[in-house]
């Protein structure tokens, strides 16, 4: 096993930063090509008229997930060295609820607002400004609810820990769910979509 390369010391911190930039370029390029530089396209997701967000996100998730698991199976990649978002259930769920509201009102999420700004979307600029302001406010009021931010901490829990199933089985279920969602999304777009 020799992946992830960085964790096996195949290159240093500075090289990592150059790679970060290149990966960012690919990420930004793809987001723009997907149409995520348009707030209206993103927001129409919530009115069932344009399900691009769901399709892109779940396709990306299953591609990356399947790739990770197969690389692990081939003894190329050590899963335990891949950063796993720690689970801190309550702030994540509360934060998610707040972000859902922000998404529909603002029309972007942080990453897509940067891409939108990059191609000159004025609502993108305002959104980025708002997001920076929101983060400043968060930092300022953080001391008052510090306890909440660690409540429901479960460490590196995964869906397979929770369901008590092997990661491969969970992955299969995720693929099935994604295919089901794609089918529903196509139906919804046919029914509610703006143009055929």
């Amino acid at each position: 096993m020799s992946a992830p390369f960085y964790k096996f010391d195949l290159f240093g911190y500075e090289t990592g930063l150059v790679i970060a930039f290149l990966i960012g370029v690919a990420f930004g390029f793809t987001l723009e090509r997907a149409g995520f530089s348009s707030s209206r396209k993103l927001a129409l997701q919530f009115y069932l008229r344009d399900m691009t967000v769901l399709k892109v996100m779940f396709t990306a998730i299953i591609v990356a997930m399947t790739g990770l698991l197969y690389l692990n199976l081939a003894d190329v990649l050590d899963m335990s060295k891949i950063y796993l978002n720690p689970t801190v259930l309550y702030p994540q769920m509360l934060g998610g609820a707040i972000m859902g509201v922000g998404f529909v009102i603002g029309g972007y999420c942080p990453g897509t607002s940067l891409v939108a700004s990059a191609i000159g979307k004025i609502d993108g600029f305002f959104y980025v400004g708002g997001a920076l302001l929101g983060m400043l406010i968060y930092g300022e009021v953080f001391p008052f609810f510090q306890d909440l931010t660690t409540s429901g901490a479960m460490g590196n829990a995964t869906l397979s820990d929770w369901l008590n199933l092997r990661p491969g089985v969970v992955a299969f279920l995720v693929i099935l769910m994604a295919l089901g969602l794609f089918y529903v999304a196509e139906m919804l777009e046919k029914r509610f979509g703006e143009k055929a």
């Binding site: 010391d9 199976l73 491969g168 089985v169």
Partner: protein, 211 residues
Amino acid sequence: MQLTQIFDRRLAVGLLLVLGALLALSPAGLRQAEQLSAQDISHMVTGKSDHVTAEEVSAWIIDKQPDLLIVDLRSSEEYQQYHLPGAVNIPLTRLFEPESLDQLSDLYTIVLYSNGGTHAAQAWVLLQQMGIKSYVMLGGLNYWVDAILNPQPPGDLAADSEILQYQFRKGASGFFNGGGVSVEQENQPAQSDAPRPKLPPRRKKKGEEGC
């Protein structure tokens, strides 16, 4: 056009289903970096990539090496009586509790010590098996006390290198006993005498957030 699109979609869906079903039957995701063979371990031992000397550790402490994590494997009573400056206490019996392992991030240069050398060596092997790289401090705390805290002057016929080593220890001793002796100058020859093992490149600690 329409036909090929439909065909491609069906193909993609079919492929995904097959790949997913195979994953479901496989142990994917559970495979860890391969266990070290006895040969690997003996190679590391003979290659001296497994240990550091007390002198090196003392130089690191004095230099305030930012990525240094010294682990005291003795019981907490012994730890409270005396421990190396900045050392954390993880008794060998509690090494594999999650909160202990959480402290042993691979971003640190981990130095293990116990009273002698046995427990530290055992912990070293166990950690290697888990993919955590560490160093054993040679001679343990016993040697530390003898050599660093109470260095004995070498005899009249001592070789130059022994005298330099003594000077270094004397300086370090002053530092650790609070004598305030500057070790900066005396540090230099000792370094050329016993080159430090190469430190892993210093890494920035990653933020908690993935976003």
